[in-house]
Subunit: 306 residues, 2 copies
């Protein structure tokens, strides 16, 4: 596995969460999925947007994390999402991740209030870091304004890195705005700030500009090929590899992404329970699933070893 | 106190939450504040947007609610906010509110994912209602797209009322879009759906159109006058009363609303600890506070009996 300066894999998957029919997360199948991803070269950014993390209670996530570690998942390849709207919940989740040896935590800003000043976002992260009070803590801030509707400005990032240089060590940027990503890399990568693209669409561009990799939805279903590009991006066929990744994404992105990826896992693992999301998301319909599978066969896509 | 068909006051305040210097909510001062509001004619929609509810952990809110009831607050005048991003947390908080005898609960839709289909929002509310499984449950849905960035369509409301006619009994509409409010009233008020305006700015218009009252930020600082208009809206001086309410709001709305209201409570109660908000919000600066107080004196505004 290709690792970054801080020991985390260059490619991580915001791991899809399997639920029981009751809506309770299923640790057993999640462990299996994390093992499969690890075997296919990608780390596990559990409790991300694609994991439906915010559709689970804090207590459920704390329990799941415990079960994963007990089940043998390597915490050095884990970057759990720990950011919540409240400082207290963010601290609790982050402390658990650090104590269990997770190599990093991915931290959303508080996302209920909108148009808050940078000062307030800085105070939020600062309070969390001070209350976790653990030198092992490595925070990757999570910028995903299309969903959170709260953007992390470059000025805020600079201030955070300056105040907490050994703790605020990177970002997952899901802004989808390449000019922003590029400005973060050119401004902060020289001080070892690790920039992960939020989609493999930007993987090659990110690596060529000085970023370290990606944390991407499709790493759930196409891990090996994405990890391969992160490893061989200086090879002459890198552009073709990127194009092949884009073809897979284009097939999935015709549908709501999270339900579509779960439908694919359900299909290739022959485990229909995998196909379910929690409200407010909605499962793919039978027609959508059939159309997706047809599209995947058309591009010779398969998930093996699930 | 002027009560609606379901026994709740016509005016409720999304009660400001006092925090200790450590950031922990202070039950003792919150009880005092609820008593003051009740004495001034308004019910208590604790755990709302103005309460910084989402900046507190679920466990803190459960504890606070318990303390309020033990402290003698009348649950018949309480409409706690119980909506969270996860079904499980919403169910837990809602069950606690119902068990403690709260007359209603104010329920945000899940607010992390955006652009979700109505189907997903319907499934969320339906799952919560089915899991709470208590005929005493009265849900007021909370529409606040300027903050949550998730709007409750009229079609969704109609579907919810049809499916759960004795449970989905009303709405707090903070859309700020009068044409939407009006359409909800004209469509659903005939089936006894209780429409509360989300701001006292719309109080008179709402009552004249067939709504029942308001749940408004400024009910925290101007309760008596707002409650008075709700009671006497058919009197000849109603328009003047509304204008007087608007003058008070105009003074506060020159500043970030929540910190400004807390600064006013701190000033009039001579309890500086009241002036603090939790990140990501930011306290008013000293200059802002001085300017606010000056503005309040200019309009002869005071809070008495705090």
């Amino acid at each position: 596995m290709h690792l970054t300066k801080y020991g985390l894999p260059a490619v991580l998957s915001p791991v899809l969460t399997p639920f029981l029919a009751s809506g309770i997360p299923d640790a057993k199948r999640l462990i299996k999925q994390c093992q499969w991803l690890d075997h296919n070269g990608v780390g596990q950014a559990i409790f991300g947007t694609n994991s439906e993390a915010n559709s689970m209670a804090a207590s459920q996530k704390l329990h799941l994390l415990d079960e994963l570690i007990k089940g043998g998942i390597n915490p050095k390849h884990l970057m759990p999402g720990t950011g919540a709207c409240s400082i207290q919940e963010t601290v609790e989740m982050t402390k658990a991740a650090v104590t269990l040896g997770c190599a990093g935590t991915l931290m959303l800003p508080p996302f209920y209030y909108k148009d808050v000043p940078d000062e307030g976002l800085f105070n939020f992260y600062a309070s969390v870091i001070e209350q976790v009070a653990d030198s092992r803590l490595k925070v990757y801030v999570y910028n995903i304004p299309p969903v959170s509707k709260v953007a992390l400005s470059l000025t805020l990032l600079e201030r955070l890195v300056k105040a907490f240089p050994s703790t605020i060590v990177g970002i997952k940027d899901s802004s989808g705005d390449w000019s922003y990503t590029e400005s973060v890399i050119s401004c902060l990568a020289p001080s070892n700030f690790q920039v992960y693209a939020g989609s493999e669409t930007f993987l090659l561009k990110t690596l060529r500009s000085g970023g370290v990799g990606c944390i991407s939805a499709t790493a759930n279903i196409n891990p090996l090929a994405i990890a391969q590009l992160a490893k061989t991006w200086q090879d002459s066929n890198a552009d073709e590899q990127q194009k092949a990744l884009d073809v897979v994404r284009a097939t999935f992105s015709q549908y709501p992404m999270i339900p579509a990826m779960k439908a694919a896992v359900a299909y290739f693992s022959q485990d229909s329970l995998w196909g379910h999301v929690l409200p407010p998301l909605v499962d793919l319909s039978r027609e959508q699933t059939q159309s997706l599978i047809k599209g995947l066969h058309k591009i010779n896509f398969a998930m093996t070893g699930l």
